[in-house]
């Protein structure tokens, strides 16, 4: 009974991954899948993997996904134009075909019923796993440490950006501003904040100028871009 409930929740949440329009919603439904799978692991006598699934997957990996979604922009939904004609339909058909073949194959195969882990888990699941990990699988375990270090360094190299020109100090910026004012009469003071005199005060609402027109300078470029893209798509 618990399996039926957990399995249906997991599958429905996984389908949410397919149909969610915004990446944040997809990430949240993936979180439900992960927690559901963790509970299934608990029913399968794998308490260590139950904890690791929640700590590593829902705790670390999904939060990393959410961080990147926030950095890349929450509003980047899927582009609607198809690069290859009929790709979505064909891909869905092939995917469903793969699923049908898998399920039919598993249905045909005679898979033994579960023997249970009560003897293998004797003395504690974590202790028995540690015995295996540090004896038979110790080479693989050491290799994963090399893999993790490589991945961390790789991410740092990829995310690193070399500074080409020297950092501008506050003095440089002030002098540049005054020079601009002397040359072209550009306003010396700070830019108008978003939402000034507008109906909303959210960050992507442009400030209104005294004549009622919108000030493009008041909205950060990345937010203005996202809003403009959505309006172009007719939302």
């Amino acid at each position: 009974m618990s399996f039926v409930i957990l399995a249906s929740v997991t599958v429905i949440a996984a389908l949410g991954l397919l149909f969610a329009r915004k990446p944040v919603h997809a990430a949240l439904s993936l979180a439900v899948v992960m927690v559901g799978l963790a509970m299934i692991y608990a029913t399968l006598e794998a308490p260590f993997l139950f904890a690791v699934q929640i700590v590593v997957y829902t705790g670390a990996i999904l939060m990393l996904f959410l961080f990147v979604i926030m950095l890349v922009g929450v509003d980047t939904s899927d582009t609607l134009k198809e690069t290859i004609a009929g790709q979505k339909v064909l891909a869905t058909l092939l995917g469903v075909g793969l699923g049908a073949i898998l399920i039919a194959g598993i249905g045909q195969a005679s898979i033994a019923t579960m023997r249970g882990l009560s003897s293998a888990n004797e003395g504690g699941n974590v202790q028995r796993l540690a015995d295996l990990l540090f004896s038979r699988y110790v080479i693989a375990f050491e290799a994963t440490s090399a893999l993790l270090i490589t991945a961390a360094i790789g991410a740092m190299v990829l995310a690193h950006r070399e500074r080409i020109d020297p950092k501008q100090s506050q003095t440089d910026l002030a002098q540049k501003r005054v020079a601009d004012y002397a040359k072209s009469g550009k306003h010396l003071g700070p830019l108008p904040p978003p939402g000034t005199f507008a109906r909303h005060n959210s960050n992507d609402t442009p400030a209104l100028l005294p004549d009622g027109s919108q000030s493009t300078e008041s909205v950060p470029a990345i937010l203005a871009g996202g809003r403009a893209d959505e309006e172009a798509k007719g939302e």
Partner: protein, 101 residues
Amino acid sequence: MTDNTTAYVILSAILFTIGTIGVLTRRNAIVVFMCVELMLNAANLALVAFSRMHGNLDGQVTAFFVMVVAAAEVVVGLAIIMTIFRTRNTASVDEPRMLKW
């Protein structure tokens, strides 16, 4: 708690299929990545179920290694997505067609 291994393996196959369809149809690189994670998790579920079927813990150890590799893969993959977004200002898998920028 059911002792029927087939049910777990079929659930794993369904999740894997959903992940495959997601990878093939979604355009946002981050969502494609999440679907890859779903496929890895489906494989893990099969491993844990088979571990209980055979009555030994090798499957659970393998599932643990899969999790480690998945974590490393996510770190590098998301860093690549961030780099592509910084240079091309898009997170769509259709836009980057060159191998360099």
